[in-house]
Symmetry: C2
Subunit: 253 residues, 2 copies
């Protein structure tokens, strides 16, 4: 049994606790949060506390709080020779201020409280100071059903930005597509199969090879017609992405 204490009450902590409670070979012994009301859903399932000095003994302490709280919270931990990890994509491993072994256990996925998470679809990026701790994090990932990768702090920061492109920015392009539909009384539904196919395509193909459309064909007639149909903000984004596509393939083809 791997004994785990989780510190935090956000979306990720919520999903981690719920899944760990159902995972054999993992014993979630306690959950800490500054405010007890946010973790009261755990009453009767595991120990809960809002007193940082009353943490139970465990093999690993998973700190799942907002980036700017990691340093302050971990500076209060009095845990000798224990493994303390954070779950942030952007924070360096050195943000951990505890006098103990450090690590990172970063799940690269988008979490919301309303939607159940299948950890099979959550890759973990792991970083530790020593090999034994790495093995422990890898084992926990495996028990949760997740893939895991050895990613250091520098790589993790880059990965976090890459995630902004393929998640936050992609969603904003969906929004702009939706906006164009709304402005013209077109049901956004029509675009959903295309959206699905676009994301499915890159399971087998490299995005570089999956590119289609007027920009890669340098079809300036269509590009200009499109620009005429757009508002100022849509035009700016259309132009800069078209330029980037043309330059990408100008360079590499």
């Amino acid at each position: 049994m791997i004994k785990v204490v989780i510190l935090g009450g956000g979306n990720l902590a919520f999903h981690l606790t719920n899944t760990m409670l159902k995972t054999s070979s993992i014993n979630l012994v306690q959950v800490y949060n500054r405010s007890l009301s946010k973790i009261k859903y755990l009453k009767g399932k595991t120990l809960i506390t809002n007193n940082i000095d009353e943490l139970k003994d465990a093999d690993i302490y998973i700190v799942s709080v907002s980036d700017n709280a990691i340093s302050e919270l971990t500076s209060k931990l009095v845990l000798k020779n224990k493994l303390v990890v954070h779950t942030s994509g952007a924070a360096n491993i050195t943000e951990l201020q505890s006098n103990s072994r450090k690590g990172v256990f970063y799940p690269l996925q988008s979490f919301s409280k309303e939607k159940e998470i299948n950890f099979k679809e959550v890759p973990f990026c792991l970083e530790t100071e020593n090999k034994l701790d790495f093995k422990l994090l890898k084992k926990i990932s495996t028990l949760l059903g997740s893939n895991s990768y050895n990613i250091n702090s520098e790589q993790r920061k880059k990965l976090h930005v890459a995630a902004v492109f393929v998640n936050n920015f992609v969603n904003h392009l969906y929004y702009l597509g939706n906006e164009i539909c709304d402005e013209n009384n077109i049901p956004f539904e029509i675009l959903k199969p295309l959206i699905k196919e676009t994301s499915n395509k890159i399971i087998d193909l490299q995005p570089f090879d999956a590119q289609t459309g007027p920009a890669i064909r340098k079809d300036s007639k269509t590009i200009n017609k499109h620009l005429e149909l757009l508002n100022e903000n849509q035009q700016k984004i259309y132009s800069i992405l078209t330029k980037s596509i043309i330059e990408t393939y100008g360079k590499k083809l």
Copy 2:
């Protein structure tokens, strides 16, 4: 039986012919293409021709050629009181030059010859001059297993641009994510579950409500850190999309 003649030898014509040959209640009587070699896969399955004056009798003639060939090809058609439709997202219905009933049968999906298409995932945008022809196009869509929508030429042009945002541009953002990974020896694999989840999310949620990330939080500290990690082209795109997200939610929240 609905008798169909298809004109064209591109990706869409390829998938349409293959599917129609397997569809009961549809009789693909003939396929025309300027070059016979591109449609020789149909030998023994249906009649093929490269002579535009030898078209067989049918209920509908589907012109699936590149946008700039529609006008010239259809001006050569001598078909009295027949329904002639094109399959283009960008071309007006008036591009059809034949002396016959006109329509549009535009499948909003991304096609490639290598990948089989399930027409259940292909919505058709329909436009006709009269109701009876609309009913025929709707019936063909239904026989193919597809949903269909009443979309006029103006709407269709807008929809085509919207499709560039959610397909071409989204794929380019995947490419940029992949580029950042490659530059830092990170397997792009790690991002694929997030990409899948991002497109799944908007099946139930509006893109407006699904937005997450530093831009919507106006988290300028993270935004500036991210910008430092990017090359010039990535920075430009990061900045303009971040600005667009901030303005979108500044306006509407």
